[in-house]
Symmetry: C3
Subunit: 151 residues, 3 copies
């Protein structure tokens, strides 16, 4: 089944490539690897501000992480033209805007990981790191970067 | 000398691949590169909880980082079948659960770096970043991710 | 135009490869990719200590990030021999020593990104992540790691 059939079933509309907030580009391909810039969580076109363990719940963080994964897929589509050309999502790095005592970053990151395997199946299974950072640009609650392999 | 002779001399028993704590996989190989997920410090099968500069000393952090490196080698062995096939440890990223005033993350990370060069010799010499993060999943004191090159 | 003509115009003297502060190496090449270790900000040969949002301004952070980018180019030159062999700067990860309320890490990172595109033109345009960390080795204000592609 085409990735686009799955996206339609999930009622997901992919955005275009993320417009970088500063002096960099959204992705760079080198050989068969595509490195995507860190994408910060957004909601209704604005930074999704907040901190896990300091106002936001794990469930809210998961929704934010899922939204970032959709934005990453939008950028990835712009990078490679057709998501069916993705051989594998290689690696995610999930940064969670985290209060000193919050320790469920891995559960927040699952919001992104589940979306990727829903859309891409086994090709969406990735290596991953998740951890809590002191802050994120614009005060966003989650930032995720990705490495993907294309055919 | 085989990597396994060295491990035997050091009396190190490699574990199997780390079981991911959430919706991801322990490693992904793409071309000749293997990306390993962030491995959090564990002790006696439980998260090695604590903060550097907030209860844990640099020496304790080094022991934790060394333990993570052994776990990474266990995962790497599961990924490639035989550690003698490792051409190079390319890169480590060492995250240290750090109080605001703690500044010896590089010394903590040496616990992992020394182990890798002990076991793999020149093939174990790697690029590295080390820094202090706000928190780590399960409250672990150290998390390390790795990129390795196989023959 | 040669990269070295541009550097001369900008009156930039490249340093040699950074001497690692601990048990790792400044760079590792694998295939056509060069992974550079995290380079911490230095000023007059000493760690550039400070925190964004806690004493240092965004403008000061940009100067520090630019200095790190010059040091990274020095290491990259040592790695590949001739910067004209650089096909692309692939990825920067910019860690900003950040107070809990500071949210302009992307602007700090621009100090490095602008320098790279000034020196390398389109080949200097990179994917990037920037975020705030709890601390950096030696208390430095900025740490940046890089992936570059060589011809």
């Amino acid at each position: 089944m085409s990735v686009y059939d799955t996206l339609a079933q999930l009622r997901i509309d992919l955005p275009g490539a993320r417009t970088p907030a500063a002096a960099y580009v959204a992705y760079v391909q080198t050989g068969q690897l595509v490195f995507l810039s860190g994408h910060t969580a957004r909601r209704e076109g604005q930074p999704w501000v907040g901190q896990l363990g300091g106002g936001l719940t794990t469930a809210q963080g998961q929704v934010a992480a899922r939204a970032v994964a959709i934005d990453l897929l939008g950028t990835l589509q712009a990078a490679v033209g057709d998501l069916n050309r993705i051989r594998r999502i290689v690696k995610l790095t999930c940064l969670v805007n985290s209060s000193p005592g919050y320790t469920e970053h891995h559960l927040v990151a699952n919001g992104a990981s589940h979306l990727l395997t829903q859309v891409l199946g086994a090709r969406g299974e990735h290596a991953r790191s998740a951890f809590g950072v002191a802050q994120i640009p614009h005060g966003a609650c989650v930032e995720i970067e990705m490495v993907a392999e294309v055919i």
